[in-house]
Symmetry: C2
Subunit: 180 residues, 2 copies
Protein backbone atom coordinates (compact mmCIF):
# COMPACT_ATOMS: atom_id res chain seq x y z
CA UNK A 1 0.00 0.00 0.00
CA UNK A 2 1.36 3.41 -0.92
CA UNK A 3 2.13 6.14 1.58
CA UNK A 4 -0.75 8.17 0.21
CA UNK A 5 -3.26 5.37 0.68
CA UNK A 6 -2.04 4.73 4.19
CA UNK A 7 -2.52 8.36 5.15
CA UNK A 8 -5.88 8.79 3.46
CA UNK A 9 -7.72 5.83 4.85
CA UNK A 10 -9.72 7.70 7.48
CA UNK A 11 -8.55 8.95 10.86
CA UNK A 12 -9.50 11.55 13.42
CA UNK A 13 -6.59 13.54 14.80
CA UNK A 14 -8.03 15.23 17.86
CA UNK A 15 -5.98 18.14 19.21
CA UNK A 16 -7.06 19.00 22.75
CA UNK A 17 -5.51 21.65 24.99
CA UNK A 18 -5.82 25.07 26.53
CA UNK A 19 -6.60 28.21 24.61
CA UNK A 20 -3.40 29.52 22.93
CA UNK A 21 -1.64 26.20 23.46
CA UNK A 22 -0.96 25.93 19.72
CA UNK A 23 -3.69 23.54 18.56
CA UNK A 24 -4.67 25.47 15.44
CA UNK A 25 -1.05 26.19 14.52
CA UNK A 26 -0.23 22.48 14.69
CA UNK A 27 -3.42 21.63 12.80
CA UNK A 28 -2.50 23.98 9.95
CA UNK A 29 1.06 22.72 9.82
CA UNK A 30 -0.14 19.12 9.64
CA UNK A 31 -2.65 20.11 6.97
CA UNK A 32 0.16 21.45 4.78
CA UNK A 33 2.31 18.38 5.43
CA UNK A 34 -0.56 16.13 4.38
CA UNK A 35 -1.39 18.23 1.33
CA UNK A 36 2.24 17.89 0.23
CA UNK A 37 1.67 14.14 0.36
CA UNK A 38 -1.51 14.35 -1.72
CA UNK A 39 -3.98 14.15 1.16
CA UNK A 40 -6.56 16.90 1.68
CA UNK A 41 -7.65 16.64 5.32
CA UNK A 42 -10.97 17.90 6.62
CA UNK A 43 -10.31 20.72 9.09
CA UNK A 44 -12.68 21.14 12.03
CA UNK A 45 -11.70 24.10 14.17
CA UNK A 46 -13.76 24.73 17.28
CA UNK A 47 -13.45 28.51 17.14
CA UNK A 48 -14.27 28.63 13.45
CA UNK A 49 -17.39 26.48 13.87
CA UNK A 50 -18.53 28.66 16.76
CA UNK A 51 -17.99 31.76 14.62
CA UNK A 52 -19.92 30.44 11.61
CA UNK A 53 -22.76 29.26 13.81
CA UNK A 54 -22.66 32.32 16.04
CA UNK A 55 -22.53 30.19 19.18
CA UNK A 56 -21.78 32.04 22.35
CA UNK A 57 -22.40 29.69 25.28
CA UNK A 58 -19.32 28.58 27.18
CA UNK A 59 -21.11 26.98 30.11
CA UNK A 60 -20.49 23.30 30.74
CA UNK A 61 -23.58 22.05 28.88
CA UNK A 62 -22.98 24.23 25.81
CA UNK A 63 -19.36 23.10 25.61
CA UNK A 64 -20.27 19.44 25.97
CA UNK A 65 -22.93 19.71 23.27
CA UNK A 66 -20.54 21.60 20.98
CA UNK A 67 -17.81 19.00 21.50
CA UNK A 68 -20.28 16.17 20.89
CA UNK A 69 -21.42 17.62 17.58
CA UNK A 70 -17.88 18.27 16.39
CA UNK A 71 -17.01 14.70 17.37
CA UNK A 72 -19.99 13.29 15.53
CA UNK A 73 -19.07 15.34 12.48
CA UNK A 74 -15.49 14.05 12.63
CA UNK A 75 -16.70 10.45 12.91
CA UNK A 76 -18.88 10.60 9.82
CA UNK A 77 -16.13 12.25 7.80
CA UNK A 78 -13.79 9.50 8.96
CA UNK A 79 -16.29 6.83 7.91
CA UNK A 80 -16.21 8.35 4.43
CA UNK A 81 -12.47 7.77 4.37
CA UNK A 82 -11.40 11.32 5.19
CA UNK A 83 -8.51 12.26 7.42
CA UNK A 84 -9.95 14.75 9.89
CA UNK A 85 -7.98 17.23 11.97
CA UNK A 86 -9.89 18.67 14.92
CA UNK A 87 -8.63 21.56 17.03
CA UNK A 88 -10.89 22.05 20.01
CA UNK A 89 -10.17 22.81 23.68
CA UNK A 90 -12.49 19.87 24.56
CA UNK A 91 -11.85 20.06 28.30
CA UNK A 92 -13.97 17.08 29.42
CA UNK A 93 -12.35 13.63 29.40
CA UNK A 94 -15.74 11.92 29.41
CA UNK A 95 -16.78 13.61 26.17
CA UNK A 96 -13.46 12.88 24.47
CA UNK A 97 -13.83 9.22 25.44
CA UNK A 98 -17.38 9.09 24.08
CA UNK A 99 -16.13 10.52 20.80
CA UNK A 100 -13.29 8.01 20.72
CA UNK A 101 -15.89 5.25 21.00
CA UNK A 102 -17.74 6.35 17.84
CA UNK A 103 -14.55 6.81 15.77
CA UNK A 104 -12.56 4.04 14.08
CA UNK A 105 -9.06 5.51 14.32
CA UNK A 106 -9.13 8.22 16.99
CA UNK A 107 -5.78 9.80 17.74
CA UNK A 108 -5.88 11.91 20.88
CA UNK A 109 -3.17 14.54 20.90
CA UNK A 110 -2.69 16.57 24.06
CA UNK A 111 -1.23 19.95 23.20
CA UNK A 112 0.21 20.28 26.70
CA UNK A 113 1.84 23.70 26.51
CA UNK A 114 1.95 25.01 30.13
CA UNK A 115 -0.74 27.43 31.23
CA UNK A 116 1.94 30.06 32.03
CA UNK A 117 3.09 30.05 28.40
CA UNK A 118 -0.48 30.28 27.15
CA UNK A 119 -1.08 33.26 29.45
CA UNK A 120 2.10 34.93 28.17
CA UNK A 121 1.09 34.38 24.54
CA UNK A 122 -2.54 35.45 24.98
CA UNK A 123 -2.97 36.41 21.29
CA UNK A 124 -6.56 37.59 21.70
CA UNK A 125 -6.21 39.07 25.19
CA UNK A 126 -8.65 36.49 26.52
CA UNK A 127 -6.54 35.33 29.46
CA UNK A 128 -6.13 38.92 30.59
CA UNK A 129 -9.90 39.36 30.58
CA UNK A 130 -10.46 35.99 32.24
CA UNK A 131 -7.95 36.76 35.00
CA UNK A 132 -9.62 40.14 35.52
CA UNK A 133 -12.99 38.36 35.83
CA UNK A 134 -14.36 39.95 32.68
CA UNK A 135 -14.85 36.55 31.01
CA UNK A 136 -16.56 33.80 32.95
CA UNK A 137 -15.89 30.06 32.71
CA UNK A 138 -12.57 30.36 30.89
CA UNK A 139 -10.73 27.05 30.62
CA UNK A 140 -7.64 26.84 32.82
CA UNK A 141 -8.60 29.98 34.75
CA UNK A 142 -12.20 29.65 35.91
CA UNK A 143 -13.28 26.44 34.21
CA UNK A 144 -11.70 22.98 34.39
CA UNK A 145 -9.40 21.33 31.88
CA UNK A 146 -9.25 17.58 32.34
CA UNK A 147 -5.94 16.61 30.75
CA UNK A 148 -5.84 13.27 28.92
CA UNK A 149 -4.36 10.56 31.14
CA UNK A 150 -3.29 8.35 28.23
CA UNK A 151 -3.02 10.52 25.12
CA UNK A 152 -1.66 8.99 21.94
CA UNK A 153 0.78 11.88 21.77
CA UNK A 154 1.67 14.92 23.91
CA UNK A 155 3.09 18.01 22.29
CA UNK A 156 4.41 20.96 24.30
CA UNK A 157 4.81 23.81 21.85
CA UNK A 158 6.83 25.77 24.39
CA UNK A 159 9.53 23.09 24.37
CA UNK A 160 9.24 21.58 20.89
CA UNK A 161 9.64 23.27 17.51
CA UNK A 162 6.57 23.26 15.25
CA UNK A 163 8.38 21.19 12.60
CA UNK A 164 9.16 18.54 15.19
CA UNK A 165 5.55 18.50 16.41
CA UNK A 166 4.34 18.04 12.85
CA UNK A 167 6.84 15.29 12.13
CA UNK A 168 5.88 13.39 15.29
CA UNK A 169 2.22 13.62 14.31
CA UNK A 170 2.90 12.45 10.76
CA UNK A 171 4.87 9.45 11.99
CA UNK A 172 2.15 8.52 14.48
CA UNK A 173 -0.50 8.84 11.78
CA UNK A 174 1.48 6.62 9.42
CA UNK A 175 2.00 4.04 12.16
CA UNK A 176 -1.66 4.02 13.17
CA UNK A 177 -2.96 4.01 9.62
CA UNK A 178 -0.85 0.99 8.69
CA UNK A 179 -2.23 -0.90 11.68
CA UNK A 180 -5.82 -0.22 10.65
CA UNK B 1 -19.93 16.25 -18.40
CA UNK B 2 -21.19 12.80 -17.52
CA UNK B 3 -24.34 12.14 -15.58
CA UNK B 4 -22.29 10.82 -12.70
CA UNK B 5 -20.15 13.95 -12.51
CA UNK B 6 -23.18 16.16 -12.65
CA UNK B 7 -24.79 14.36 -9.73
CA UNK B 8 -21.67 14.13 -7.60
CA UNK B 9 -20.54 17.70 -7.67
CA UNK B 10 -21.83 18.67 -4.23
CA UNK B 11 -25.39 19.48 -3.22
CA UNK B 12 -27.52 19.54 -0.10
CA UNK B 13 -30.95 17.99 -0.50
CA UNK B 14 -32.84 19.16 2.57
CA UNK B 15 -36.02 17.22 3.35
CA UNK B 16 -38.17 19.16 5.80
CA UNK B 17 -41.62 18.14 7.06
CA UNK B 18 -43.68 16.76 9.89
CA UNK B 19 -42.84 13.60 11.79
CA UNK B 20 -44.02 10.56 9.76
CA UNK B 21 -44.40 12.65 6.61
CA UNK B 22 -42.05 10.31 4.74
CA UNK B 23 -38.73 12.20 4.84
CA UNK B 24 -36.54 9.24 5.73
CA UNK B 25 -38.35 6.94 3.28
CA UNK B 26 -37.75 9.41 0.46
CA UNK B 27 -34.15 9.92 1.60
CA UNK B 28 -33.44 6.19 1.48
CA UNK B 29 -35.12 5.80 -1.90
CA UNK B 30 -33.06 8.66 -3.32
CA UNK B 31 -29.94 7.16 -1.76
CA UNK B 32 -30.53 3.89 -3.66
CA UNK B 33 -31.29 5.75 -6.90
CA UNK B 34 -28.02 7.68 -6.58
CA UNK B 35 -26.03 4.59 -5.65
CA UNK B 36 -27.33 2.91 -8.82
CA UNK B 37 -25.84 5.87 -10.69
CA UNK B 38 -22.48 5.50 -8.97
CA UNK B 39 -22.97 8.25 -6.40
CA UNK B 40 -22.68 7.49 -2.68
CA UNK B 41 -24.53 10.29 -0.89
CA UNK B 42 -23.86 11.33 2.70
CA UNK B 43 -26.98 10.61 4.77
CA UNK B 44 -27.78 12.93 7.68
CA UNK B 45 -30.89 11.80 9.50
CA UNK B 46 -32.08 13.97 12.37
CA UNK B 47 -33.42 11.09 14.45
CA UNK B 48 -30.32 9.02 13.92
CA UNK B 49 -28.00 11.84 14.96
CA UNK B 50 -30.09 12.47 18.06
CA UNK B 51 -29.92 8.75 18.90
CA UNK B 52 -26.14 8.48 18.49
CA UNK B 53 -25.57 11.65 20.51
CA UNK B 54 -28.26 10.81 23.05
CA UNK B 55 -29.87 14.22 22.65
CA UNK B 56 -33.23 14.62 24.30
CA UNK B 57 -34.15 18.31 24.22
CA UNK B 58 -37.03 19.23 21.95
CA UNK B 59 -37.51 22.79 23.17
CA UNK B 60 -37.12 25.59 20.65
CA UNK B 61 -33.49 26.36 21.48
CA UNK B 62 -32.37 22.71 21.42
CA UNK B 63 -34.06 22.18 18.07
CA UNK B 64 -32.55 25.31 16.57
CA UNK B 65 -29.09 24.34 17.77
CA UNK B 66 -29.53 20.79 16.49
CA UNK B 67 -30.69 22.03 13.09
CA UNK B 68 -27.81 24.49 12.91
CA UNK B 69 -25.22 21.81 13.56
CA UNK B 70 -26.75 19.41 11.04
CA UNK B 71 -26.81 22.26 8.51
CA UNK B 72 -23.19 23.15 9.18
CA UNK B 73 -22.25 19.49 8.81
CA UNK B 74 -24.11 19.29 5.49
CA UNK B 75 -22.38 22.43 4.22
CA UNK B 76 -18.87 21.15 4.88
CA UNK B 77 -19.66 17.79 3.28
CA UNK B 78 -21.00 19.68 0.29
CA UNK B 79 -17.82 21.77 0.09
CA UNK B 80 -15.88 18.49 -0.14
CA UNK B 81 -17.93 17.62 -3.22
CA UNK B 82 -20.36 15.26 -1.52
CA UNK B 83 -24.05 14.99 -2.30
CA UNK B 84 -25.78 15.23 1.07
CA UNK B 85 -29.31 14.08 1.87
CA UNK B 86 -30.72 15.53 5.08
CA UNK B 87 -33.96 14.34 6.65
CA UNK B 88 -34.87 16.59 9.52
CA UNK B 89 -38.20 18.08 10.68
CA UNK B 90 -36.43 21.49 10.80
CA UNK B 91 -39.58 23.45 11.67
CA UNK B 92 -38.10 26.97 11.70
CA UNK B 93 -37.93 28.88 8.40
CA UNK B 94 -35.29 31.24 9.78
CA UNK B 95 -32.89 28.40 10.52
CA UNK B 96 -33.46 26.74 7.14
CA UNK B 97 -32.72 30.06 5.45
CA UNK B 98 -29.53 30.51 7.46
CA UNK B 99 -28.41 27.04 6.40
CA UNK B 100 -29.25 27.82 2.78
CA UNK B 101 -26.95 30.84 3.03
CA UNK B 102 -23.91 28.73 4.00
CA UNK B 103 -24.52 26.05 1.34
CA UNK B 104 -23.62 26.29 -2.33
CA UNK B 105 -26.41 24.23 -3.86
CA UNK B 106 -29.20 23.97 -1.27
CA UNK B 107 -32.31 22.18 -2.45
CA UNK B 108 -35.21 22.65 -0.04
CA UNK B 109 -37.76 19.87 -0.36
CA UNK B 110 -40.99 20.22 1.58
CA UNK B 111 -42.39 16.79 2.37
CA UNK B 112 -45.87 18.21 2.68
CA UNK B 113 -47.88 15.11 3.58
CA UNK B 114 -50.97 16.37 5.47
CA UNK B 115 -50.92 16.23 9.26
CA UNK B 116 -54.00 13.96 9.23
CA UNK B 117 -52.10 11.35 7.22
CA UNK B 118 -49.09 11.61 9.53
CA UNK B 119 -51.35 11.11 12.55
CA UNK B 120 -52.94 8.05 10.89
CA UNK B 121 -49.53 6.55 10.10
CA UNK B 122 -47.99 7.30 13.51
CA UNK B 123 -45.39 4.49 13.21
CA UNK B 124 -43.87 5.13 16.63
CA UNK B 125 -47.08 6.10 18.44
CA UNK B 126 -45.68 9.58 19.01
CA UNK B 127 -48.70 11.50 17.73
CA UNK B 128 -50.95 9.49 20.02
CA UNK B 129 -48.78 10.45 22.99
CA UNK B 130 -48.52 14.07 21.84
CA UNK B 131 -52.29 14.36 21.42
CA UNK B 132 -52.75 12.85 24.87
CA UNK B 133 -50.36 15.46 26.26
CA UNK B 134 -47.76 12.85 27.22
CA UNK B 135 -45.14 14.39 24.92
CA UNK B 136 -44.57 18.14 25.07
CA UNK B 137 -43.59 20.42 22.19
CA UNK B 138 -44.42 17.96 19.42
CA UNK B 139 -44.24 19.53 15.95
CA UNK B 140 -47.65 19.98 14.34
CA UNK B 141 -49.47 19.27 17.59
CA UNK B 142 -48.02 21.42 20.33
CA UNK B 143 -45.05 23.04 18.56
CA UNK B 144 -45.02 25.06 15.35
CA UNK B 145 -44.06 23.93 11.87
CA UNK B 146 -43.25 26.82 9.58
CA UNK B 147 -43.80 25.40 6.10
CA UNK B 148 -41.45 26.63 3.37
CA UNK B 149 -43.04 29.41 1.33
CA UNK B 150 -40.87 28.83 -1.73
CA UNK B 151 -39.53 25.28 -1.58
CA UNK B 152 -37.56 23.94 -4.53
CA UNK B 153 -39.91 20.97 -4.54
CA UNK B 154 -43.00 19.82 -2.61
CA UNK B 155 -43.75 16.14 -2.22
CA UNK B 156 -46.95 14.84 -0.69
CA UNK B 157 -46.38 11.17 0.00
CA UNK B 158 -50.11 10.64 0.60
CA UNK B 159 -50.84 11.64 -3.00
CA UNK B 160 -47.67 10.68 -4.86
CA UNK B 161 -46.05 7.26 -5.19
CA UNK B 162 -42.57 6.90 -3.74
CA UNK B 163 -41.07 6.12 -7.16
CA UNK B 164 -42.52 9.35 -8.54
CA UNK B 165 -41.19 11.35 -5.59
CA UNK B 166 -37.74 9.88 -6.16
CA UNK B 167 -37.83 10.56 -9.89
CA UNK B 168 -38.88 14.19 -9.35
CA UNK B 169 -36.02 14.64 -6.91
CA UNK B 170 -33.49 13.06 -9.27
CA UNK B 171 -34.59 15.30 -12.14
CA UNK B 172 -34.39 18.40 -9.98
CA UNK B 173 -30.95 17.41 -8.74
CA UNK B 174 -29.73 16.87 -12.30
CA UNK B 175 -31.15 20.20 -13.39
CA UNK B 176 -29.65 22.08 -10.45
CA UNK B 177 -26.29 20.34 -10.69
CA UNK B 178 -25.91 21.21 -14.37
CA UNK B 179 -26.57 24.87 -13.58
CA UNK B 180 -23.85 24.93 -10.92
Amino acid sequence: MSLLNKLDNGAVIWLTGLSASGKTTIAKSLQIALQMRGVEPVMLDGDEIRAVMQLRGFDEQSRKTHNHYVGYMASIFEKRGHTVIVSLISPYAEIRNQIRSICLNFIEVHVCTPLETCIQRDPKGLYQKALAGEIQEFTGVSAPYEAPTQPDLSLDTAATHLDDCTEQLLQLLLQRSSQG
